[in-house]
C-alpha cells in the first residue's frame, strides 16, 4: 500500500519535505518509524506523535490507511 506522510514543524526541516508518498507493506507504526529513521537518521532523536487519518495512534497500531502525519510539539508563543 502507499502511505502519504506529512511532516510538521521541525520534522519537515529534518526530512527536507512537507510530505511524501512511501510504498509500504502492511505493518505497525513502529515498523514504519524504523524505515523512516533509516532514511532520515536525524529524525530518531526528535519527539513527535503519529496520526493516522487525522487521529493520534500508538506505536503498535497496525497501519491500514493512507494518511499519516508526524506531529512534533511546538513551544513558541
Amino acid at each position: 500500500m502507499k502511505l502519504n506522510i506529512k511532516y510538521f514543524g521541525l520534522l519537515a526541516e529534518v526530512t527536507g519535505c512537507n510530505q511524501e508518498v512511501i510504498a509500504f507493506s502492511e505493518a505497525s507504526v513502529s515498523e514504519l518509524l524504523t524505515v523512516l529513521f533509516k532514511k532520515y537518521p536525524n529524525l530518531e532523536d526528535k519527539d513527535f506523535q503519529v496520526a493516522q487519518n487525522q487521529k493520534i495512534v500508538s506505536k503498535d497500531t497496525i497501519l491500514s490507511e493512507h494518511e499519516i502525519a508526524l506531529l512534533p510539539p511546538f513551544s513558541g508563543g
Partner: protein, 390 residues
C-alpha cells in the same frame, strides 16, 4: 461639581454592576452601545454578553500569543482578566506583540498590557501579576479563574500549566507556534484530554531549538492567538464544537489546516494527581538553557548593567560607569549589588565563566541575565565601533 471620590465610586460601581449587580439606566445604555455588535448577534445577545461579563480568564504570558488573546478578550468585555508575565518588553517583541509600543520598552509585560487594555476597556477588571508562574503560585492563581489561556514560549511552563490545571480542574486554551506553523487546542474541558494525553513528556533536551533563537512570522501568533480567544469565548458562551479532543494545525505558508483527534488518557491524569506537584522540577528545556547574547543584540536590551566576573588582576580593564566587577567566586555573596529591574550583561575573558554566572543568578531567581558571547574582547570591539560613552 462632583467630587473626585464620587467619580471613583461611580467607576467602581459600574464595574460591579457589570458583574451582575443593579445597573442605572445610563450605565446600561453605555454598555449596550459598547457591546451592541455582540448583543445583535443571535447566539450571543444580552444573555451571552452577561456571561462574558461574569467570566474570569487568566492569560499566562503576554507575548506573541498573549497579546491578541488579551486584546480580544478585553474588547469582548470579559469581567475579570488576569495577566501573568515576568518578562520585560524588548524592541524585538514589537514585530508581533501588538499591545506594546516603543513607549513600553523596558516595562514589565503584564503591567504594560494592563495599561493598554484599561484604555481599550475601562469597564472590566484587569489584574497584572508581574512575576513568574511557579509550582508555588500556580494552583492558588488558577483557582481564582474560570479558564486558563496558555500563551507561554517554553515547554517547562506548558507542562506546569497542564499539571496545575489538572489539579485545580480548570480548562486550558492551548496555543503554540513554530516559525510558520501553529497549533491550537482546548485541554481538560468537560472530561476531554489534557496536554500530556497528546505529548506525555517534555522533549529531550536539545531536541528542540531554543525558543529565543527561532524566528517567527509576526502575523502567525496573531492568527493563533485570535483562535485561542475564539475558543475561550465559545466555552464561556456554552457553544458546541469547542476544540476539545482536537489539535488544530495551521500552516501560514500554505494556508493549509489539519485537525487531529486526540483521546483522553486516564493514565496521564492519574500520574499528575499522584505526583507531588510542588516538588516537581519544571525548569527544563528553554528555562535551563543559559541565555547568551552577542554584542550586535546589546542595543535591544538597553537599559543594561554589565558585570565583569573576571578576577581583579585580569586585563584588559573595561571602564564603563554601568559596569561592576564581581569575580565569579564572590558572586553568590554579592547578589544585592545587582539591579534586578534592568537587564544584566555578564562577561568574562571568553564567555565560559559568564555562562556559569548566568546559571547561578537564575538559581537565585535573578532573571534577565545574559552571558556575553566572545567575552571581553568582543565587548571592547563593540565599544570602539559604537563609541560607547558612559
Amino acid at each position: 461639581m462632583k467630587s473626585h471620590y464620587y467619580l471613583l465610586f461611580q467607576g467602581a460601581k459600574r464595574r460591579r454592576d457589570l458583574r451582575g449587580f443593579k445597573q442605572t439606566g445610563q450605565d446600561k445604555l453605555e454598555l449596550m452601545s459598547r457591546y451592541s455588535r455582540h448583543i445583535l448577534l443571535s447566539g450571543v445577545g444580552q444573555e451571552g454578553q452577561d456571561k462574558l461579563s461574569q467570566a474570569s480568564v487568566l492569560v499566562v504570558g503576554a507575548g506573541g500569543l498573549g497579546c491578541p488573546v488579551l486584546q480580544y478578550l478585553a474588547a469582548a468585555g470579559i469581567g475579570t482578566l488576569g495577566i501573568i508575565d515576568f518578562d520585560l518588553v524588548e524592541i524585538s517583541n514589537l514585530q508581533r506583540q501588538i499591545l506594546f509600543g516603543t513607549s513600553s520598552l523596558g516595562i514589565n509585560k503584564a503591567l504594560a498590557a494592563k495599561t493598554r487594555l484599561e484604555d481599550l476597556n475601562p469597564e472590566i477588571e484587569i489584574k497584572a501579576y508581574p512575576e513568574q508562574l511557579t509550582p508555588d503560585n500556580a494552583i492558588d492563581l488558577f483557582k481564582a479563574y474560570d479558564i486558563i489561556v496558555d500563551g507561554t514560549d517554553n515547554f517547562a511552563t506548558r507542562y506546569l500549566i497542564n499539571d496545575a490545571a489538572v489539579l485545580s480542574n480548570k480548562p486550558v486554551v492551548y496555543g503554540a507556534i513554530y516559525k510558520f506553523e501553529g497549533q491550537v487546542s482546548v485541554f481538560n474541558y468537560k472530561n476531554g484530554p489534557s496536554y500530556r494525553c497528546l505529548f506525555p513528556n517534555p522533549p529531550k533536551e536539545g531536541s528542540v531549538a531554543n525558543c529565543s533563537e527561532v524566528g517567527v512570522l509576526g502575523v502567525l501568533p496573531g492568527i493563533i492567538g485570535s483562535m485561542q480567544a475564539n475558543e475561550t469565548l465559545k466555552m464561556i458562551l456554552d457553544f458546541d464544537h469547542v476544540l476539545s479532543g482536537k489539535l488544530f494545525c495551521f500552516d501560514a505558508k500554505t494556508s493549509q489546516t489539519t485537525t487531529i483527534d486526540i483521546s483522553r488518557s486516564e493514565t496521564q491524569f492519574n500520574k499528575v494527581k499522584a505526583n507531588k506537584f510542588k516538588e516537581q522540577h519544571y525548569a527544563f528545556s528553554c528555562e535551563t538553557a543559559v541565555s547568551e547574547i552577542s554584542t550586535t543584540a546589546l542595543s535591544e536590551k538597553e537599559p543594561v548593567q554589565f558585570i565583569d566576573v573576571r578576577e581583579h588582576h585580569e586585563q584588559p580593564k573595561v571602564s564603563l560607569t554601568n559596569c561592576i566587577q564581581i569575580p565569579l567566586g564572590e558572586l553568590k555573596q554579592e547578589l544585592d549589588q545587582i539591579n534586578t529591574n534592568i537587564n544584566t550583561i555578564i562577561f568574562c575573558k571568553s564567555g565560559l565563566r559568564s555562562k556559569t554566572a548566568v546559571a547561578l543568578l537564575k538559581e537565585h531567581n535573578i532573571d534577565h541575565c545574559y552571558s556575553l558571547k566572545g567575552g571581553v574582547s568582543a565587548l571592547i570591539e563593540y565599544l570602539k565601533i559604537n563609541a560607547y560613552e558612559r
